[in-house]
Each structure stands twice: as structure tokens, then as C-alpha cells.
């Protein structure tokens, strides 16, 4: 545990070097963002709130339509389509829990999210997708209850728990966690975990991830304020 903590403080300065983003890269969309987390790169665009296309049952709130486009030609092409659907569902619940959907009756937003580069494993790409989504919604200035940030954590066989892992470390490990934190109370909004671990490790992972989320929020502030000034 002490080892892990020292790792983390070592990483502290380099956190900002592993994050990078471009706001409004797509000018035609209401909001868009490109976000880089280590070796993963995602682009997301949001259109709307616009007219409700299909006659759905959501007449008193905002209808959210998310499409996730995985990078074509990735290794496991056969199994991706179901995984894509899972990711879409996961992101949709995130949008529903943060956006004030009651403010937009009879309207719909369309979100398209692209995975552009993914050299490391699932943990980084999942966290990257969440952060891109949040930046896109902030860029479009949708009314939200709170901003959120996702942090990937891996359980390395020798080095222990690592936050924002480098590609080499991530490929060497089998257990990972992704935590999504909200800005107000810094509590967990969503999580995803895979592999073998016990409850103690999970709790440790959450305590490691919390301060990192705070730094990601600081990064959001920097980037968004730069655009406004």
C-alpha cells in the first residue's frame, strides 16, 4: 500500500501531461470535444436539443440518443457489437443522471462518440469515453446537475494499484476498475470493474482515484476557461 501511494505522488505532476483536449473541433455540432488520456483518443459530438424525431414516450423530458462508434478493424471485431451496446447503455445512464432532462420537453439530443485510438486496454478507453462525453456536454452548455470525471485504475501483478496507467502496465494486468466521480461531493456516480479482486482492493482503489478526479476537474476548469477568455 505504501508503495502504491508513493507511485501516485510520483505521478502527481505528470497527470496533466497525460491529459489533453480540444474543444469544439467540429464547428457544425452544438458541442464537441476531443480528449486524450495516455494512449487513448476519443471524439464526441452533440447535436440538439432538437425536434423529437420519432414518436417516443418521452414527451415530458429530453430524449437522449447515443451512438458509439468503435474503431474499425480492432482485434476482436466479432464480439464488439454487443460490447458497444453495453458502452452506449452505460453512457446513456450517465447522461440521464447528470443532465436536467426535464428542462427540454419534446426534444432530443443526439450524441455520437468515436473511439479514434486505443492502444491500451479497456480501462483507459472507458474512462476516456466518459471524460469526452462530459467535456462535450460542457461545451454544448447543457444544464447539468454536476460535472463528472472518470478515473481508470489497474491492479498490476507487481506494482499494485496504479491510477491512469501507462499502456505497458495496463497490458500486463488483468484486473481493472473505472470510477466516475461527480464534482459536488466527489462521490462515486458509476463504476465498472473486471477481473479478480476483493472488497479491500476496491476500497483502496476508490481512495486512490478520488484525488485524481479532483485534478481532472481542475483540468476541465483550465480548458473551459481558456476558451471563454
Amino acid at each position: 500500500m505504501t508503495e502504491t501511494l508513493s507511485e501516485m505522488t510520483e505521478n502527481d505532476e505528470s497527470i496533466f501531461s497525460s491529459l489533453h483536449c480540444i474543444l469544439s473541433p467540429i464547428s457544425k455540432a452544438t458541442g464537441s470535444a476531443t480528449f486524450t488520456l495516455n494512449d487513448s483518443l476519443c471524439t464526441c459530438l452533440l447535436n440538439g436539443p432538437g425536434e423529437l424525431r420519432q414518436q417516443q414516450d418521452a414527451i415530458n423530458r429530453l430524449q437522449v440518443d447515443i451512438t458509439f462508434q468503435a474503431r474499425p478493424g480492432s482485434n476482436n471485431t466479432n464480439s464488439t457489437s454487443t460490447k458497444d451496446k453495453l458502452i452506449e447503455q452505460w453512457l446513456e445512464t450517465l447522461v440521464h443522471s447528470t443532465v436536467l432532462t426535464e428542462h427540454y420537453p419534446r426534444s432530443q439530443i443526439n450524441i455520437v462518440i468515436y473511439e479514434e485510438q486505443n492502444l491500451s486496454g479497456e480501462a483507459t478507453i472507458l474512462a476516456c469515453l466518459c471524460n469526452t462525453l462530459c467535456l462535450t456536454m460542457l461545451d454544448a452548455n447543457l444544464p447539468m446537475k454536476y460535472a463528472f470525471a472518470a478515473v481508470p485504475i489497474i491492479l498490476h501483478p507487481t506494482k499494485g494499484l496504479l491510477a491512469l496507467p501507462k499502456t505497458k502496465d495496463e497490458l500486463a494486468s488483468t484486473t481493472y476498475f473505472v470510477f466516475v466521480f461527480e464534482i459536488t461531493l466527489n462521490e462515486t456516480l458509476a463504476m465498472h470493474a473486471s477481473g479478480e479482486f476483493d472488497m479491500k482492493t476496491l476500497e483502496q482503489a476508490i481512495t486512490i482515484a478520488k484525488p485524481i478526479a479532483g485534478q481532472i476537474f481542475q483540468f476541465y476548469r483550465q480548458e473551459l476557461e481558456k476558451r471563454l477568455s
Binding site: E51, P105, R106, A140, P143, A147, E182, T184, L185, R221
Partner: protein
């Protein structure tokens, strides 16, 4: 973790804002006005933001969040809007006002329109009218006031020129029209500003219209005072 943000500071959605020293907004004697992006939570008694931007206080006890606002979503009933006719139906028109759906305009809501004499409107015409939004229905436009008079509203001449300006600048121009009056003293022109950020201008010469557009766009981009804008207007008229 819970740091309270101050006036003129940058906020993200979910940030708590330090307005708590003020009287509660439920206290009717000294009411606080919260503009777009701000929210008062009754349970915690805290002011929170719902969008990102800087907190502004234009006058005392009035607060709003000044952020990047790409879409028209804050239109309310009674706003004057500029729209473009998209489709003509049997008894109504569908008008694009930059809202999430097309607004409908009944052909009887023009001055002097009856069942026999309907106004001659077609696709692409520019409409200036008053917006009516209630609840979860399609927005509606009317081009007459309570007395059945046009009152400046209706179909605008096709010899004018339409362009877009930011919504907050448009609202500011509607509220404080001294810039427009000053410019009018130098050169006569007609103007219609919609709360949806569209502007229609008409003047005798094309050069005047271009100069007007330049001044309004300059007004939107940089906070220049009236005299600077007047010189700019005079310059663009000549060159």
C-alpha cells in the same frame, strides 16, 4: 471539498456559489433574481450552478452565469422573434426561429386577414412576430397585438438583409436602444431585432446595410462604447 465560488469566478455545473450571505430568496421583501444557469436548492439552502461560465452580477441581487451559449433555448412567451418561413400549409405557416422545433403561425394572425383575404406569404419570407410558448406544445407566433393591429410585426420586406448575432447581445440591443438611435441620427434605416439573435436591416443603400452589420457585429465581439462605434460606422460608410 466543498469550496464556495465567488462572483466573477469560473464555475462548472454542480459548484456551490457563495451568495449565502444574502437573504433567502424565499424572503419576499428582499428578493434575489437568479438568471440562466443558477439554481437555489431548497433542501440544502445553497446556490448551485447548472452550467459553466463566469458568475456575473450586473446589478445588486441579480446574478447569472455568463457562458458560451450556442443554442437558443431560453426563449419565453412574449419575446419578439425573427423567423424564416419554411413551409406553407393550408391555414398556417411553419417558421424556423432557431428553436428546437418549427413554430407555427396561423394565416389569420396577420393584420386585416380574413377567411377570404389571406396574406401573400411564401417560403423564404422573413416574419417578425411575437412568440407564444405554453408548456409542452409547439411554439406559436402571432403578428398582431391585442387590438388586431400589426404594430411593426408581420412580413418584412425582401429588400432587407438578415444576419445572426449572439442572443445576449440581441437582448441587450432590445433593452438599450441608444446606439441604434444614435446611428439613426446619422443615416435613416429600418431594423428589426429578434430575441433569437437574428437581425434584419434595411436602408436605402447597400453600403449603409453593410456598415450597420459591421457595427453590430463589432458590438457583439468587443465591448466598445457608442462613440467608437459611431466612428466605425462613419468610416465604413466612406470606405
Amino acid at each position: 471539498m466543498n469550496i464556495e465560488r465567488q462572483i466573477n469566478e469560473f464555475v462548472l455545473p454542480g459548484d456551490t456559489i457563495a451568495l449565502s450571505s444574502l437573504p433567502s430568496p424565499l424572503d419576499s421583501s428582499n428578493s434575489v433574481t437568479l438568471g440562466p444557469g443558477l439554481h437555489y436548492d431548497k433542501h440544502t439552502g445553497a446556490f448551485t450552478s447548472h452550467s459553466c461560465g463566469h458568475i456575473r452580477e450586473p446589478s445588486s441581487l441579480i446574478y447569472y452565469i455568463d457562458g458560451h451559449r450556442p443554442a437558443v433555448s431560453s426563449l419565453t412567451s412574449g419575446d419578439l422573434v425573427l423567423g424564416i418561413v419554411v413551409r406553407r400549409q393550408l391555414e398556417s405557416l411553419l417558421v424556423d426561429i432557431g428553436y428546437n422545433e418549427l413554430a407555427s403561425l396561423s394565416l389569420y394572425d396577420f393584420e386585416g386577414a380574413t377567411k377570404r383575404t389571406k396574406p401573400n406569404v411564401d417560403r423564404g419570407d422573413i416574419i417578425y412576430g411575437r412568440l407564444k410558448i405554453d408548456g409542452e406544445c409547439q411554439p406559436q407566433i402571432i403578428c398582431i397585438n391585442e387590438d388586431g393591429k400589426a404594430d411593426g410585426m408581420g412580413i418584412l420586406s425582401e429588400h432587407g438583409y438578415v444576419f445572426d448575432i449572439p442572443v445576449d447581445v440581441a437582448n441587450d440591443l432590445i433593452e438599450h436602444n441608444n446606439l441604434l438611435e444614435e446611428l439613426g441620427n446619422e443615416m435613416p434605416y429600418e431594423i428589426a431585432i429578434g430575441a433569437n439573435g437574428r437581425v434584419w436591416v434595411k436602408a436605402t443603400t447597400t453600403r449603409t446595410m453593410i456598415a450597420l452589420r459591421k457595427v453590430l457585429l463589432e458590438r457583439a465581439k468587443n465591448k466598445m462604447d457608442i462613440n467608437q462605434l459611431k466612428t466605425l460606422f462613419a468610416q465604413s460608410l466612406v470606405s
